[in-house]
Every structure is written in structure tokens, then in C-alpha cells.
Amino acid sequence: MNTSSLASEPAWPSPLRDFCRAFARNRGAFAALLFLALLALCALLAPWLAPFDPAAQHRDFLLTPPAWLEGGETRFPLGTDELGRDLLSRLIHGARLSLSIGLASVALSLLPGVLLGLCAGFFPRLLGPSIMRLMDIMLALPALLLAVAVVAVLGPGLLNTVLAIAIVSLPAYVRLTRAAVLGEIHRDYVTAAKLAGAGRLRLMFVAVLPNCLAPLIVQATLGFSAAILDAAALGFLGLGVQPPSPEWGSMLAAARDYIERAWWVVTLPGLAILSSVLAINLVGDGLRDALDPKLKNLA
């Protein structure tokens, strides 16, 4: 009954709506988001979308060029690899692997990272500095090298790739959360909550954490793209997901030997990596601009 009067009232400023509007205004980021949605769809529907089983070998069609080239076959739109496997099917299934490795490793490092960061911010006497020292130690090792060392200990494979990347990206989340917590902890609303009798856990998770989310969301996006890059690099070094799994990096490693006569087996998996990482980074830039207008004109 009141709906008409409500509708004519000026809309209250809603952070979510502001954010959506700011994000949609950034055309590059919006296009990148659409591309990512498409990629995610491909990954989800891989078994139905891919024309062939990614492991099926067509022995009569080794290194067939893409369909639009001389000698190409319409059955294999993007050509075949050195074992006669359909490249398009392998790329589609590879999207599945790359995106799930990225998601899993972000989740596996974001949760403990935020917890450790909150603790480091809330317990500045002993626990905080010890956590930060530990992170300094992890940061002293170059990321890829640390991941390689972890894989050297655990052995190569899908799960260990995820674990290695999660360990490597942990310090970034811890440092970021701690910095955000230290920025918030002396604000009036935290003091007010404390005086109102909020316990420490409530202060940490209900009062402070929601206000630290913006930089964490941006970092998680960047962590997602870095995870895809690192997973591909590990795969390329032969330490990640093992063949015959159609992981983009290990596909590139196998393609190295055919660099002189089959450009498509070298070019296409790399383009897949580059375009997905670039799209995620574009979305990350858009998120940062929309979430933190102060930074907008800077970077």
C-alpha cells in the first residue's frame, strides 16, 4: 500500500549499487568480466562442449593445422597436437583445470591468510610480530622457487600444485589484512563496540573484518590470476599437473619440440593463458577503481 510513496522517494545511497555502477562504467573491466563468464561456462560444460575426449588420439591426424589453413580438417577447428589429440577439446578442458586450480588455491590461502592477519593485527605483543616474521621468511624466497621447493618435497601433481601456490600466496593476504586491521582498530566505531561490551571475537569478525574487505577482494582477484600463471609455470617446468592432463602449461612444454613446424601447438595454449590472466587482471583493476575511488586516478 505504501509502495508508490516509497518508489517516488529518492533512492538511498547503497554501496552495492554505487559499486555496480562504477564497475559497469569501466568498459574494459566489464568486457573482461563477460569474457571470464564465458570461460567459466566453457569450463563447467567442458565434457559437453568439447568435440572430442581430450585424451583421444587420432593417429592419422598428427599435427594437423587449424581448419582455416591448408591441410586443415574441419573436424579439428584448431588443429591437433603431436599425438593427434584435438587442440580445441584440450584447451576447453584445460580451462577447467586452470580455473579450478586458481579458485582452490585462492580459497586455501585467503582463509588462513585472513585469520592470521586478523590475529597479527589484534595481538600486537607477541603473536603479531611472530606471525609477521614468519611471513618475512616466506617472502625471502622468490615465489616460483618456493613453489618449486614445495613441489620438490611433496611431488608433482594437481593437489600439490594447489597447495604450493596457496602457501606461496599466503604472506600477501596476511600482510594486507594486518595493515587493514591496524588502520581500522583505533576508529571510533571499534571503540564504541568495545565499550558496548563486544567480545574479542565479535570485534574481530563482526566489527573490523567487514571494513577490511575491499583491499582483500582486489588482492584475491590478483591472486587468482597469479595462481593461474604459477600453475602454468609449474606445469611447464614439468613439476605441476602431469601429462596427459590437458593443463595449459604442460601442453606448452610438450609443444616446445615442434616449434619449427607447428606454430599452433605453441601459440594457442599460451594465448589461452594470457587472455584469461589479462581478463582477470582487468577485472581486478576495475574492482579496485570501483571499491576505492581514491586510487582511481593513480594507477
Partner: protein, 336 residues
């Protein structure tokens, strides 16, 4: 300044000890028996096995093992490679200059081009040049460099035949190692054409390794430059009638350099990560390729102490950058 130095040095020691703990744990976390892993899959008789355990000190309690590991490190003993029987330190020292040469070439490329591109983008803010440069920078930042290397090899080496595919120098030339830097050594030697050949070997790996730092520096320079150009002293300088070029390259760029330099320091770690990939791809005989091969061959002393040496290097470089930053900016020096 002295107390600042002492504080930073004090932070250095626990970090380094922590890294030794990590490399110590590394070799003991390997699933299964380290002796069997090191000696290969062939069956060992129990007595040899026990001897090997004893020789490696693996039969003692963990804390004793760690203390003796620290003692070894303090004596400068980094063990010897299982494959070559050469000491790990000698191998590292022999290969390190190759990595430094590659990294310096990459940084030079990234620094010069990145500063230039970032400055131009900031000056022409909002133009096609700005958008194009920043688009390219984001692409470079997202680049899987192992693929980028393959594409460059495919085009410049295979298609055009301009550059060699691997190594630091053609086998034709016999250049005595003096400094370990091929560009310097070839100049010192009397081999004709060797310098140009070394340069041709260096150029592609340097481009590959420099791509990501180049993108980062271009983005940082642009944002730092935009910040500086808004400052009053720039307006004052402009009012004094300084030429635009002098204004930008002398006054603005110098102040924009401070944040860029910090990023430069932070890039050392990722530069070494990139070096692992680049060296493997171009068969560049540096420490990155050395470590990856050691991991493949399960040469654990090399893996363990190679990682330790690299971590020490990163810690040291960050320490130096910290100190330089403190020298340049008193606000940092005096912060508690």
C-alpha cells in the same frame, strides 16, 4: 642513522635463521627415506644404508642435526653436489655471474623503457597513447613469460634466424673467463666478433626476463608522475618559465623515482622467479637452470643450499634497498 641500521640488521638475523630452518626441514620432509631417495631405487643392503644414515648424520636427534647444520653453514661449508662431487658454493659462484648479467640486462631494458613509457603516458594522460601504453603494460604484466619466450624464439630465431636459441656464446669462440660477465670477458679477449655474438645471445633472454618488470615500472612511473605533476613546486617551476623537458625530466621525474625505486627493490624476488624460467628456456647457464636441474636429479644438497643462497641474496638486496630508502627519506628512518 646508526640506530636505524642496527634495527634493520636486528630484523635480518631472525629472518635468515628462519630460512635455514626452512631449508633444513625441506630435506627431512621428503616422504620416504632420504637415503633411498638419494641413492636411487636400487636395493641397498641394510649395513650400507645405516652407514649412509650415519654419514649424513640422519640418525641423530633433530635439534642436534639442526645445530650441526648451522655449524656447517657458519664454517662456510655448503656441502657438495651428489652429481658432480663439486662443492655447492663453487658451483653457485661459477654460475652466479651469468644470472646477474642476465638480470642486469633485463633491468636496464625495463628501467629505461618503463620510465620513458610511464612518463609519456602521464604527460599525455587520457590520450590514445596513454590508453595504449597502459593496455600494453597490463598485457605485459599478465604475460606467461615461458610462452613469450617461445613466441620470440619462433619469430626471431626460427623464422628470421637473427638470434641464437641457447647459451651465452657460440662454441667457435674461446673466451677465457675473467669476470664471469660474458659481455666484459669478450671485450677483454682478442676474439673478433665475440662481443657481438654474446650480445646476440643475451638480447632475447633479457627481453623475456625484462617484460614483467617493464610493465610494473611503466605503471608505477605513470601513477607516481601524475601525483608529482599536481604538486605546487611543479607549478612554481612552470611559472618560473622552465622548459617543459627540463621540468619533466629534471624536476618531476627525480621525485617520481622514489616510489619506483622501492618497487625496483621488491622486484628482485620475482626477477629471480623469472630467471628460473628464462634460463631453463634459453639454456642459460645460471643458477635458476642449475636449481631446476638439481631438483630433477634429486640432488638434495644443491637444492637445499642453493635455495638458502638465493634467499640470503633476496634478504640482502631488500636490506640494501631499505637502507637506501631510509637515506633518501628521513621520515622512514625515524619511524619506530
Amino acid at each position: 642513522m646508526l640506530s636505524f641500521l642496527a634495527r634493520r640488521l636486528g630484523l635480518l638475523i631472525p629472518t635468515f635463521l628462519g630460512v635455514t630452518l626452512l631449508t633444513f626441514a625441506l630435506i627431512r620432509l621428503i616422504p620416504g627415506d632420504p637415503v633411498e631417495v638419494m641413492m636411487g631405487e636400487r636395493r641397498l643392503d641394510p649395513q650400507m644404508h645405516a652407514e649412509a644414515m650415519h654419514r649424513l648424520g640422519l640418525d641423530r636427534p633433530l635439534h642436534e642435526q639442526y645445530l650441526s647444520y648451522l655449524g656447517q653453514l657458519a664454517r662456510g661449508d655448503l656441502g657438495q653436489s651428489l652429481r658432480t662431487r663439486e662443492s655447492v658454493w663453487n658451483e653457485f659462484a661459477g654460475l652466479f655471474p651469468a644470472t646477474v648479467e642476465l638480470a642486469l640486462a633485463a633491468l636496464l631494458l625495463a628501467g629505461v623503457l618503463g620510465l620513458l613509457a610511464g612518463t609519456l603516458a602521464a604527460l599525455k594522460r587520457g590520450s590514445i597513447l596513454d590508453h595504449g601504453t597502459m593496455g600494453l603494460a597490463l598485457t605485459g604484466y599478465s604475460m606467461p613469460i615461458f610462452w613469450w619466450a617461445l613466441v620470440l624464439i619462433m619469430f626471431f630465431s626460427v623464422e628470421l634466424g637473427w638470434t641464437p636459441v641457447s647459451g651465452r656464446l657460440d662454441l667457435l669462440y674461446d673466451v677465457p673467463p675473467v669476470t664471469g660477465f660474458m659481455l666484459v670477458d669478450t671485450l677483454l679477449s682478442d676474439e673478433r666478433g665475440a662481443f657481438l655474438d654474446a650480445l646476440r645471445h643475451l638480447i632475447l633472454p633479457a627481453i623475456v626476463l625484462g617484460t614483467i618488470p617493464l610493465a610494473v615500472i611503466a605503471r608505477m612511473t605513470r601513477s607516481a608522475m601524475l601525483e608529482v605533476l599536481r604538486e605546487d613546486y611543479i607549478r612554481a617551476a612552470r611559472a618560473r618559465g622552465l622548459s617543459p623537458a627540463r621540468l619533466v625530466f629534471v624536476h618531476a621525474l627525480r621525485n617520481a623515482l622514489v616510489p619506483v625505486l622501492t618497487v625496483f627493490g621488491l622486484q628482485v624476488g620475482s626477477l629471480l622467479s623469472g630467471a628460473v624460467l628464462t634460463e631453463t628456456l634459453f639454456s642459460w647457464p645460471g643458477i635458476g637452470k642449475w636449481l631446476i636441474e638439481a631438483i630433477g636429479a634429486r640432488d638434495y644438497p644443491v637444492v637445499q643450499n642453493g635455495i638458502l643462497l638465493i634467499a640470503a641474496l633476496v634478504i640482502l638486496v631488500n636490506f640494501v634497498v631499505d637502507i637506501l630508502y631510509g637515506l633518501a627519506n628521513p621520515r622512514i628512518r625515524h619511524r619506530q
